[in-house]
């Protein structure tokens, strides 16, 4: 009997060496420990044996069983560890995600910065009239200052005589007029949206693009505040390292007026092709709202004063992400859209 047990054990030891899978291992377990196995059978015969034999056989059987159980267990561990191994050089599976268009991302980021300062967002209208787009903004008819605002006119009858012809707004500044006519100061508003100009399409021009207009009106709003707000914006949006340069300029709707240049983020002011070797890139126009503009909105310039600014979203996005062609924004190629993540 003892010899047979030894034989069983040896044959187990040989067979377990050949086991390659968990299924084979399970079969082996059944073979050696199952109900019909030699060992189980041997255990059931114990009560029939002599007393001394019982003890000895029991001891040996138990030892053998324990050994088999132990080895099976060890083998299971090795096998299961082996089976979890896969080719980890296989690339990750593509995961589909929803994406905000990069212009929406940049617009949201810019508006968010101004919201933190207490500005609220109010949209204007894309179809405007001459009064809101020009006259109320102190841009006289038949004046060279209108040349920079080439405009698409619409084949629609005017809404009222004194508001002039209907057109596609050439800038977001008419939002200023709409809000100031409806709401009283104190006001701090940003107004993003699409604008249109009959420009020939090329890498840096588009007949449709986006702007954000911002303005703030109260009793004591001044030029220093304008600078503070725009510094806050530029440092939050680009980096705390950027420098700004306020350069006097002319806009009919602001006085004093300025164009704001950003120290070139590419060359840090040393001069490169992005900044045409000037070290500065223009990012926006701004100024103190002209008294005539306030008057057009029935706000007394004696009581109130304020600042306004306007910037092109494409331009800011192009600077931030080093995008070299404005047409990419409207082509909606997945290989473009997928490059951007909201920050």
């Amino acid at each position: 009997m003892l010899e047979e047990i030894k034989k069983i054990e040896n044959s187990f030891l040989q067979e377990i060496e050949r086991v390659k899978t968990l299924e084979e291992l399970e079969a082996l377990r059944i073979k050696y420990l199952g109900r019909k196995s030699f060992i189980s059978q041997a255990f059931s015969q114990i009560p029939n044996l002599e007393r001394e034999q019982r003890a000895e056989l029991g001891k040996v059987l138990n030892a053998t069983k324990e050994k088999i159980v132990f080895l099976l267990d060890e083998k299971r561990k090795t096998l299961s560890m082996q089976e979890e191994k896969i080719d980890l050089t296989i690339p990750p599976f593509p995961v589909e995600r929803g994406i905000k268009h990069v212009l929406t991302q940049v617009n949201g980021e810019i508006c968010g910065i101004f919201e933190k300062l207490g500005f609220i967002i109010i949209e204007g209208k894309e179809i405007e009239d001459e009064w809101h787009n020009f006259e109320a903004l102190n841009i006289p008819l038949e004046h060279p200052s209108r040349d920079v605002f080439d405009t698409f006119y619409l084949d629609l009858p005017p809404i009222s005589k004194d508001k002039g012809k209907l057109l596609l707004r050439s800038h977001t500044s008419p939002s200023q007029i709409r809000v100031m006519k409806k709401m009283r100061p104190p006001l701090a508003v940003v107004s993003p949206g699409r604008v249109y100009r009959p420009d020939k399409v090329d890498a840096s021009h588009s007949f449709m693009f986006h702007q954000i207009e911002g303005f703030c009106v109260d009793r004591n709003i001044n030029f220093s505040h304008l600078k503070g707000v725009l510094f806050y914006f530029a440092k939050s949006f680009f980096s705390s390292q950027v420098k700004l340069r306020f350069r006097p300029h002319y806009f009919p709707f602001t006085e004093p007026s300025a164009e704001v240049d950003l120290s070139c983020i590419l060359c840090e002011g040393r001069g490169c092709s992005v900044c045409s070797y000037k070290g500065w890139v223009e990012i926006l126009g701004c100024g103190m709202i002209h008294p005539e503009v306030l008057k057009a909105c029935k706000i007394s310039p004696k009581e109130y004063q304020g600042f306004a600014f306007g910037m092109g979203i494409e331009r800011i996005a192009m600077l931030k992400y080093r995008i070299n062609d404005i047409r990419l924004f409207f082509e909606n190629d997945l290989r473009f859209l997928e490059q951007f993540y909201e920050v």
Partner: protein
């Protein structure tokens, strides 16, 4: 404007480097866009804003530098000679509004030849081609003083000279040899027989100064900016001369420029001044006086600039500080600065010269404003769609009329002055942009396209128009996305918490299997698959599923959201495999709902079989019915009984086959 730095240096001492000068001007508002060396000279190319015509002259730039550097000017004003009176011809101004003043000088016996090199160099450096000594002198004086002048060959003028409007379809050939057909918008200079110049824009070929010219009539004038603008726009032309007249030229310098031209002609071309004539006059204008208050200046700029510094800045800019009354200054602006008329204009002058960069930035106190807006609604809807894995696109609002006609659209708004035929109308549907974006990506071999756009559409309405925010959803690149699209639209409706709406099958141009989303008998939008005609028309390689929803209506119909309690007892489901012929799922759903009563939790289609074994017109579906009680756990016996009953009832309907 392009100018030579050496020319400027004739009027002000500059020891600063050209780069330093360029930077000074840029930071004062005269942006120097390019600067480069040319021999011993430096050329600066500037962008002159339309409010500063004084910067269109060398003397004007010297004035600016004198204020910036607080340095004296060396400008010599020639002595004005107005005699003898010109008797040989008369000048008749018919359009006094178009030409308030006209001066003419007759010089006889000149020799027309090439200019000396110093003169040539000067005008070339400022971007003007040399012609001959006479023409070059007029250009030189224009660049120096900012007032355009013109020289006629006196012997080619027949009779008196008139300043008048052109008659309709009068012809005129300019020095550029182009013949133009004029309109009544054009202001012209003519003699008794012919037009000799397009006033303020270009001279006539017929009175050109050439090698044989002996006698010269020199014109100096003020033309109305609006008239010149209309005239040159009508002809589609812009010249150095019209550019300046349109922006206003100086009254004071007119006579100076004219006198200097006379002096130069006499010294370089010889000849003798025969006569002077002056017609029209400067309209009487009140002298401008501007009173500024120093505390207001400080409150406006947010920077305290000492009174003395304010006075110095203004004095160097040519302002006369006439009275100082406590904290107020009474100012007379320089005559050249026609752009200065409000106190804020003076504030800009002070701030500009003081330096914008010296004004400290501070943050204002902004009172909190409460608002809720449609913009915010669109913003969160956008976030929501992105959370569903859909990608946002932005497409052009402007498209072509031919495309819209292809889409059978009406009531669209046309652009009166389109740049190209491809962009001549405003879109009344977001479909055009959706198709373009899908098509582009399909052609790039991208598959699985899930796009949305939130943008306005525009259309005519009786005597008026509408501009309305809409949501477009476009899916393509994978088969049979009709129900996925329906699912996304349902999610959007859930997002706005729209209740009691219905899906109404509808006929829609360009679409097959279209559904209208109807709420309170109004359409909130639609969805469908674009039909094969359109698919072919646009060369789409895959089907396009499209939905468009009116966001203003969605915003209007949205309802407040409240928590609704739910049963915590387990849900049990049973499946039914079924084939339908001319029976709609919605009919089955109604029966199931009715039969299951309070225990009805929902029914969904978990599988749609489409195989060769199943004939067309037959839809083979697997339905999964969910049962749940509010107050207890349903036993499987109960559910089985209920489910078997439902199965039996469904099986008895004609056109339903249980499988």
């Amino acid at each position: 404007m392009k100018f030579s730095l050496n020319f400027v240096k004739e009027f002000i001492d500059l020891k600063e480097s050209p780069q330093k000068v360029a930077n000074l001007l840029t930071m004062a508002g005269l942006e120097v866009e390019h600067i480069y060396r040319e021999g011993h000279d430096w050329i600066l190319e500037t962008e002159v804003t339309s409010n500063r015509p004084d910067w269109l002259s060398i003397v004007g730039i010297a004035y600016e530098l004198s204020a910036l550097l607080r340095r004296k000017l060396k400008v010599k004003i020639p002595r004005l000679i107005t005699k003898p009176l010109l008797k040989e011809i008369d000048i008749i101004i018919e359009d006094k509004e178009g030409c308030p003043i006209y001066l003419a000088r007759l010089i006889k016996g000149v020799k027309v030849e090439d200019s000396p090199s110093w003169l040539k160099h000067k005008i070339v450096a400022c971007g003007i081609n040399p012609v001959n000594n006479i023409v070059d002198i007029t250009n030189y004086c224009m660049i120096k003083w900012g007032n355009p002048l013109h020289a006629f060959d006196f012997d080619k003028i027949e009779g008196n000279v008139y300043v008048r409007r052109a008659k309709k379809e009068e012809k005129f050939t300019g020095l550029d040899e182009k013949e133009r057909i004029l309109t009544e918008e054009n202001l012209v200079i003519s003699d008794e027989r012919k037009i000799i110049a397009l006033a303020g824009i270009i001279g006539g070929k017929n009175t050109e100064v050439d090698q044989n010219t002996k006698n010269i009539l020199l014109e100096g004038a003020i033309f109305s900016p609006v008239r010149i603008r209309r005239s040159r726009r009508a002809m589609g032309i812009e010249t150095e001369s019209s550019y300046r007249f349109e922006r206003r030229v100086s009254w004071e310098r007119l006579k100076i420029a004219s006198q200097e031209a006379v002096n130069l002609i006499l010294s370089l071309g010889g000849g003798k001044l025969y006569g002077c004539i002056e017609k029209g006059r400067r309209p009487q204008k009140k002298t401008r006086r501007i009173v500024i208050s120093l505390p207001h200046l400080e409150n406006y700029l947010g920077e305290r600039i000492p009174k003395q510094e304010v006075k110095t800045i203004l004095t160097y800019l040519g302002f006369q500080v006439e009275k100082v009354y406590k904290e107020k200054l009474c100012l007379k602006p320089p005559s050249l600065r026609m752009d200065v008329s409000y106190p804020v204009d003076v504030y800009e002058e002070v701030a500009r010269i003081y330096g914008y960069d010296r004004i400290k930035p501070t943050l204002p106190f902004i009172p909190k404003q409460i608002y809720s807006s449609f913009y915010q609604f669109k913003k969160v809807l956008r976030d929501f769609l992105i959370s569903l894995g859909i990608k946002e696109i932005i497409t052009y609002s402007i498209t072509s009329q031919s495309l819209l006609e292809e889409l059978k659209e009406k009531n669209f708004i046309k652009i009166s002055n389109p740049l190209r035929q491809q962009e001549n109308v405003l879109r009344p549907t977001l479909l055009c942009g959706g198709i373009e974006a899908v098509k582009h990506n399909l052609n790039q071999k991208a598959f699985s396209l899930k796009f949305f756009e939130i943008a306005n559409i525009y259309f005519k309405e009786e005597k008026s128009y509408k501009e309305k925010a809409n949501l477009a959803i476009a899916f393509s690149g994978e088969r049979n996305q009709a129900f996925y699209l329906k699912g996304v639209v349902r999610e959007v409706l859930r997002f706005a918490n729209i209740k009691d709406y219905s899906w109404v099958p509808t006929e829609k141009a360009n679409f097959t299997n279209a559904l209208d989303i109807v709420k309170d008998s109004q359409s909130l939008g639609f969805l469908g698959k674009i039909d094969s005609r359109l698919k072919e028309k646009f060369d789409l390689t895959e089907d396009l599923y499209f939905a468009q929803i009116d966001l203003e209506k969605l915003w209007e119909k949205r309802e407040p959201r409240y928590f609704s309690p739910f049963s915590r007892f387990p849900v049990v489901f049973r499946d039914i495999s079924i084939a339908l012929k001319e029976v709609k799922f919605s009919q089955l759903e109604e029966i199931i709902k009715k039969e299951a009563g309070n225990y009805f939790k929902g029914v969904e289609v978990i599988d749609i079989y489409q195989g060769k074994k199943i004939p067309p017109q037959i839809f083979a579906l697997t339905l999964r019915v969910y049962y749940q009680a509010q107050d207890r756990t349903l036993t499987s016996l109960e559910v089985d009984a209920m489910h078997d009953r439902i199965r039996k009832i469904l099986g008895e309907i004609e056109g339903v086959i249980l499988r």
